[in-house]
């Protein structure tokens, strides 16, 4: 048993224990805190699997903001679960057992944990991974391929798409899942690079952040973080509609919970600003939280992070401000009309970027159109814009949810 499997087993056992306790515990406060713990444990599991972006999201959204919002909800619904008579509900039990059995049956067909021959490591992903660490080839103003790099062998190995690269001779090389000698065949093996059926440590070229480019690239070689490449470009529509879901949630909440404006924004309950320690520490940390949020959004293109995580960090700064200095102080900084407008603005930025790409003659969300001279820079610009769109919407929706929950309490 390797260390990774051992740690994973321990963590997953803890996750299961947390899940059981969440169901069993009477106090809803304990339940809410335990959901946060559950999310943090899951974040550790993701870290253990080297999926930093997922871990980051899980920690920020699951461990951070949803715990805050759950506790905010408890203010309305009370601290303790209502005692109900626990009876055995046979159809429910049957249904649960059947679903669970079907899921377990499904896992029997799944590849073993960390199996290098698993389909995910051979379908599409190697290509994606290789793209972001690919070399510059024959495009002006970009880094040159290293000395002795065999372009033809590389094209051959990669099996370039005939639709897009008609002048390149196409000969697809199928990857045999059971073949572990694939590295020997890779033309990149002498350049410190491998096409990774498995994520191998150090597969990035030295200095990792450089912009590498080659013609078989879905992203014009620009984006060093393959996760962002996938989410913002390859699966751009998906991410756009995820943002729209958040937008819809925010709008629905405003419609359902917001009171008419003429009644004013009530503020009752204790304000913490007379607590010296809290006031000083939050005043000190809020600017840094905001900077961190913007950093995560901007840096999402280059490393783990992005609009969702950064947006949540921004929202946390505002919520901390509201918790310590009161909601009326927050309303002076971000009046509800402004936050409502920003919710829409984020989605507008995302879809607007797509529309601009169409106006410039490309497809929807084809960011390379933004900079025809250097498609890679266009990709980069487009992704950064979209990340900001996501970040604005997410932060403002989270802020609105918090505000609405707090507002109800005041009535």
């Amino acid at each position: 048993m390797t260390a990774v499997v051992l740690i994973d087993t321990l963590l997953l056992l803890l996750v299961t224990a947390a899940a059981i306790v969440i169901i069993e515990v009477r106090s809803l406060y304990a339940s809410a805190i335990l959901t946060g713990i559950y999310s943090l444990l899951m974040a550790l599991v993701w870290v253990n699997m080297h999926s930093m972006d997922v871990a980051f999201t899980e920690a920020a959204v699951g461990g951070g903001i949803s715990t805050i919002l759950l506790i905010g909800t408890l203010v309305h619904v009370g601290r303790d679960e209502k005692p109900i008579k626990k009876r055995l509900h046979v159809p429910a039990l049957l249904f649960t057992v059947l679903t669970g059995g079907a899921l377990i049956y499904g896992t029997l067909d799944m590849p073993r944990f960390g199996d290098p021959a698993a389909p995910i490591h051979h379908y599409r992903v190697p290509e994606m991974m290789a793209q972001t660490v690919g070399f510059v080839m024959d495009l002006p103003g970009k880094q040159k391929a290293p000395e002795g790099f065999d372009r033809d062998a590389y094209r051959h190995y990669r099996g370039l798409d005939p639709e897009r690269f008609g002048d390149v001779k196409i000969d697809t090389v199928p990857v045999d899942p059971t073949d572990t000698a694939w590295r020997e065949r890779s033309p990149l093996r002498n350049h410190g690079l491998v096409l990774p059926p498995v994520l191998v440590e150090g597969h990035h070229p030295e200095g990792g952040g450089d912009h590498h480019l080659h013609p078989a690239d879905d992203f014009n070689g620009h984006v060093p973080n393959s996760v962002t490449s996938l989410l913002a470009a390859y699966r751009g529509y998906d991410t756009m509609f995820e943002t729209t879901v958040i937008f819809t949630a925010g709008v629905s909440l405003i419609l359902l919970l917001r009171r008419p404006r003429r009644e004013g924004y009530l503020q009752r309950g204790a304000v913490m600003s007379d607590q010296v320690i809290l006031r000083v520490v939050s005043k000190l940390s809020i600017p840094f939280i905001l900077i961190f949020g913007f950093y995560v959004i901007t840096h999402g293109e280059l490393g783990p992070g992005g609009g969702f995580q950064g947006g949540v960090a921004l929202a946390c700064a505002f919520i901390l401000y509201a918790l310590v200095f009161g909601r009326s102080a927050l309303y002076r900084v971000v009046p509800p009309p402004v936050s409502d407008m920003l919710i829409g603005l984020g989605v507008l930025i995302y879809s607007g970027t797509g529309a601009v790409c169409m106006l410039l003659g490309g497809k929807f969300l084809d960011y390379s159109m933004l900079n025809p001279q250097s498609p890679g820079d266009g990709e980069s610009l487009g992704m950064t814009l979209v990340e900001y769109g996501v970040g604005i919407t997410v932060s403002m929706v989270m802020l609105t949810i918090f505000n609405q929950l707090a507002e109800e309490r005041s009535t």
């Binding site: 204790a270 607590q275 809290l278 520490v281 000190l284 940390s285």
Partner: protein
Amino acid sequence: MQWNEVVTTVLLALGCVITFSGSYGVLKFPDFYARLHAAGKTDSLAQVLFFVGLVFVTDDILTKIKLVLVAFILLIAAPTATHAITKAAHLDGLRPWTRDSLRGGGQ
């Protein structure tokens, strides 16, 4: 073993011992405030030991700076959180444990 690995091992081991003592205190101490006293203090110190310990085994200077920053931020945030929780409990009317509470049938 390099000298930096020795330093890291010592610091991490110390951090583990302190964290363990904190967890033991959480289980052993009689009431909320005493438990938080055990958890808050040991956590604040142990995380500094962990992060500073890791600084010695990373090659990248940027990572070193980030680790120190995280340690510093947690050093401010963790005691503040403990303070806020304690204050909230106090405002909520939770009385600290005294010897009298034993006679009075506990908290």
